[in-house]
Structures are given as C-alpha cells and as structure tokens.
Point group: C2
Chain length 147, copies 2
DNA sequence: CTAATTTCTAAAGTTAACTTGAGATCAAGG
DNA sequence: CCTTGATCTCAAGTTAACTTTAGAAATTAG
C-alpha cells in the first residue's frame, strides 16, 4: 500500500485512461517500477509528469516532442524549479509564435472579408506564402507548430 | 485543351499532390467532370475551392468541416461575394476564439514560470479545467478547435 | 506511329495517439 | 479459500489525411 500508486490510481488521479498510461510508457514518458507480481508501481512524481504531458498536449505539442523535453528531467523525481523554468519558458516562446501567426492570419482575413476574393492574385488567404507541403503519409500537422 | 484543366494542371496550380486532389474528391470537396477518355476535367473555380481548403487547413479546420462549408457553395462556380463573406466571417470568429484561448494559456504560464510548480493544487497549467477527454480511438484533436 | 507521360481505379500502407480484445495472472474482500 | 476485479502482455483496430503501388488505358511529344 505504501509501495506506490497502481496504474488505476494514476488513472484516477490524472483522468487519463489506463491504456493511455501504458502507451505513454512505450514512448518513454513514464518508467514505473514493478512489484513482485509484475504490476506497475508509480511514484508521486509521475502524476506530475503526466499532468505535464496533458498540459503540453493542449498546447498542441506532439508526444514525441514532449517526450524529448521529459528526457531532461530526473526519471523518478519531480522536476526541480530550474527544470520547470526551462521547460515553461520554452513553452512560452512557442505560444507566442502561435499567437503571432494567428494574429497575422486574422489581419489577412480582415482584408479579405470585404473583397469578395475575386482576385486570386491579390488575396493573401488564397496565397499563403508559407505553405510547406509536408512530406510522406500520415496526418498533416494542422497548426504548423513544429520548429 | 479548352475543355478544362487536367488533374496535373490543378496540382501544379495549387501545389497539392495529384493523389490529394483525388482524395478530396472522395470527400466531396471537388466534383470534376470527365472527358471522353474518362480523365477528370476541372474548371477554374476548382482552383479556388482547393485554395480555400488549403487556407482552412492552415487554420486547423478538419477536412470534414471544410467540406461542410463547401456544400453551401455552387458546385462548379466560384463562390459569390456573399458566399465568401459568410465563410470568411465564420473563420474570423474561430480565429478569434483560438487567439483568446492561447492568450489565456500564456497568462497562466506566466504565472507558472517563476513558481517552480511545486503545488499541484495551485498550478493552473497542471489543472486545466477544460480537458475534455475525447472518446474512442484515433488521433486526438490537438487544438481543441471544434465547436 | 511509337515512345514517354499522365491518368485511371482499387487496394493497401503510413503516422499519431490511442483503444479494444483475448487469454492469463495478480490482488483484495468476505 | 474462493470469487470478483484489477493488471499483465501482445496483437489488432481506429481516425484523419493522405501516399504508394500495381496494372491498365488515355494523352502527348517527337
């Protein structure tokens, strides 16, 4: 009982599905210990790791990138203040970039609303200069977030 | 030659892959005519439809929703000024909502950067009030954009 | 007219982020 | 001790948005 949290406990605490937590493990996001019966045992710090993942996901970060960030953190301890400051600052930068991109789009759109867009040449929305055609199969990155 | 654009022409004009254009057809986004040999023939308006799709996608709209918007437009004609105003206005609303959500997140993050987030209870980022666990399989909607 | 492109269709593969299912084992309550 | 209920593993399914592949037919270039 004092040996740590079960995966069910963690699920209850974070709101994540048990299957999702196991899935995250295969992606290196959590690395629980095992008890004698082979069941996963989590520590308190894992709640934070998972909460961090959830927060990052609402920001639109792909799991792979989140996992990268987490590599820099101690495996079974909560992140230190320095760790957290580093991470949250880098988040801040990305959010700023997204807001800027959206604001830019909004301006273009404002210019378009009245014009009827009968001119393909002059319409900024119809001529985005930054459409980088992603290569290969799979879902497209909708938000152009990477980088 | 004067009978319309081939799918290759359209691909060159829009920057979309030929396969993507065919794919869009199965989703009701374009509905080209056929020539005697069974090859697709597109009109000028289709360039706009596809450009519209690309613009909407950079805004993060899922294809299904874009297709919905396009249902309201004449099939083989360019959208009228009224059509376009309706659509672009509804875009504007969604962009505003996204900017607001991101700005809110940024504020929360600002409050977090210095705090070291040692308190799960008080950290806004760790306790997002609006995490709605999407049901079922498939990729998650990263941006919380729908609705 | 022939060779090289394009296009056609239909089916299967890809990626992300998980879920679902099957069969077996572990743990906890009465 | 026995019966639920929780976990375990591993494989396969799901969704979105496309791509890739294969074999055949149409178009275009020379």
């Amino acid at each position: 009982m004092a040996t740590g949290l079960s995966i069910g406990d963690l699920s209850a605490r974070t709101g994540l599905a048990v299957s999702a937590i196991r899935f995250y493990e295969t992606h290196g996001i959590v690395a629980p210990l095992r008890n004698d019966g082979g069941h996963r045992r989590y520590g308190r710090a894992d709640i934070r790791r998972l909460s961090f993942v959830m927060a990052a996901q609402t920001l639109g970060f792909p799991l792979a990138e989140i996992a990268e960030h987490l590599k820099g953190l101690p495996a079974h301890k909560a992140p230190s203040k320095a760790d957290w400051t580093r991470i949250s600052t880098s988040f801040r930068v990305k959010i700023d970039a997204r807001i800027a991109a959206l604001t830019d789009l909004r301006e273009k759109l404002d210019g378009c609303i009245g014009c009827g867009c009968l001119s393909l040449q002059s319409c900024a929305l119809y001529n985005p200069q930054d459409v980088k055609g992603s290569e290969g199969a799979g879902p497209r990155n909708l938000t152009g977030l990477d980088g």
